[in-house]
């Protein structure tokens, strides 16, 4: 086997790594955003529940939470390791994404919400048309950081048997007895994925940035 084949075998795991990320990240964003909206606008009781969710889920190591959710999900419904792992990772990420969205909402809310209500917008409209569009922009930099973390954490589903980059590196490392090369190749691919994502989100941030004269 030449190096090209060796590398392309590992690289073909990228489909799974990207797949896991593309499920986990939006799932986490969806859950996180809903929870953040409850946290900020749902009154005291909701805020307390959300705070508890956040504290507990962010206090447990991701791999432990991933295992709990994975085995719980697998026991309940018949899902492939890929889907169960991805969704579980999404839940793990949701608590962190909730904090990101909450921070962004809080720093926009207040005065901007009041100004929108003064024009006659309802609370929902004010959140939808005034607070959220600004919060999204504020959330991009920390969210970009979270996206990088989810890409890296997607390597944890290796332990669930999903044939992503790290798993494939391990398999081909074992069969060729070239572990160093295999894992270094995996590292390079992860690094490229993370850099590419960060760069793309940087670009998005610049594109969405609101023009202003200093």
């Amino acid at each position: 086997m030449d190096f090209g084949q060796f590398l392309s075998y590992i690289a073909s795991g990228t489909v799974y790594t990207v797949g896991v990320t593309l499920i986990a990240l939006p799932a986490g964003l969806l859950i996180g955003t809903i929870l953040a909206l409850f946290y900020v606008y749902g009154g005291k009781a909701a805020a307390r529940v959300m705070n508890l969710y956040s504290t507990i889920f962010r206090g447990i190591p991701p791999v432990v939470l991933l295992f709990i959710l994975f085995f719980a999900v697998s026991k309940g419904i018949n899902l492939s390791a890929f889907w169960a792992g991805s969704l579980s990772l999404g839940v793990v990420s949701s608590a962190y994404q909730m904090e990101i969205v909450r921070g962004a909402l809080l720093s926009v809310s207040g005065d901007q919400l009041m100004a929108a209500r003064a024009v006659g917008l309802s609370r929902m409209q004010a959140i939808r048309y005034v607070v959220l569009p600004q919060a999204v922009r504020l959330a991009i930099p920390p969210w970009s950081n979270e996206a990088a973390i989810v890409i890296k954490d997607s390597s944890l589903v290796y332990a669930l048997g999903v044939p992503e980059i790290l798993r494939r590196a391990q398999l081909i490392g074992a069969s060729s007895q070239q572990y160093l090369l295999a894992y270094l190749s995996a590292a390079v691919i992860y690094f490229l994925l993370v850099s590419l994502t960060t760069r793309m989100l940087n670009h998005l941030e610049q594109k969405l940035s609101i023009p202003s004269n200093p």
Partner: protein, 255 residues
């Protein structure tokens, strides 16, 4: 017989133990410009916020025309459409252009079509002299321009009454004039306005009545002539003297 647009009766507002004002009465007639003056922390902003239902008074009533807006079950959003509000720190929507700021209420609250809203918004922007800045974002406008957009945004809703909360006190002296000029024109056009300001030149020239508030009470109210030239209370004279002294210099610079 002048027609009251805004009638405030027995209004009381407290934050916890802290009584901001108590049993306050005030009437604003159609086409009038009422200027409220008074020391910091007296409850002027709170009063305006009560009128716009941005905060709920504890007791008392407010009528807008014949509608009691403080009654239970009032549609707040409906009421706010008819009351324009201009804020001290402008509070433009930072993610929208000048045009977008003025259009938002038109499309989302009044449900105008995009074209109608654009046309109306451009009209309002030209009223405040900013038609050529329509596609600028707040961050690209000077403070004075931002505040004029804020006024256009409120005007676009065709309010019955406009509330101004110290609209020029966050502005550099050289930018105050352009905003006051817009307000003066509005008053001349017959808009009903309730203005909190310390710009005594404006008050003297434009106000139909000046209301002096202190520690949650209306100490005295009257025409500019009465208030400036023969106030009934020493407190009024003292305050007016101090404020003219303090702001007079700033005003001269603005001219």
């Amino acid at each position: 017989m002048p027609k009251p647009i805004l009638t405030i009766k027995n209004l009381t507002k407290t934050y916890g133990q802290n009584v901001i004002f108590q049993n306050l009465d005030l009437t604003v007639n159609e086409g009038d410009t009422i200027v409220i003056i008074g020391p910091s922390g007296t409850g002027k902003s709170t009063l305006l916020r009560c009128v716009n239902l941005l905060t709920r008074p504890n007791e008392g009533q407010i009528w807008l025309d014949d509608l009691e807006i403080t009654a239970k079950g009032t549609d707040e959003d409906q009421v706010r459409q008819h009351i324009g509000m201009v804020f001290q720190n402008f509070l433009l929507f930072n993610h929208l252009t000048a045009l977008g700021n003025v259009k938002l209420g038109l499309t989302r609250v009044k449900h105008l079509s995009d074209e109608e809203a654009t046309e109306k918004a451009l009209h309002e922007l030209s009223r405040v002299g900013l038609a050529d800045r329509a596609d600028h974002y707040p961050g690209q406008l000077s403070g004075g321009q931002q505040q004029r957009v804020g006024i256009a945004r409120a005007l676009a809703m065709d309010p019955r009454v406009m509330l101004f909360d110290e609209p020029t006190s966050a502005l550099d002296p050289e930018l105050i004039g352009e905003v006051l000029e817009v307000m003066r024109k509005l008053a001349l056009d017959g808009m009903t306005m309730l203005v909190v300001t310390h710009e005594m030149g404006f008050a003297r020239e434009v106000a139909d009545r000046i209301v002096f508030m202190e520690k949650g009470y209306i100490v005295e109210e009257g025409s500019p002539d009465e208030m400036f030239n023969h106030p009934k209370f020493d407190r009024t004279r003292e305050f007016l003297w101090k404020i003219t002294e303090l702001y007079g210099k700033k005003e001269k610079e603005a001219e």
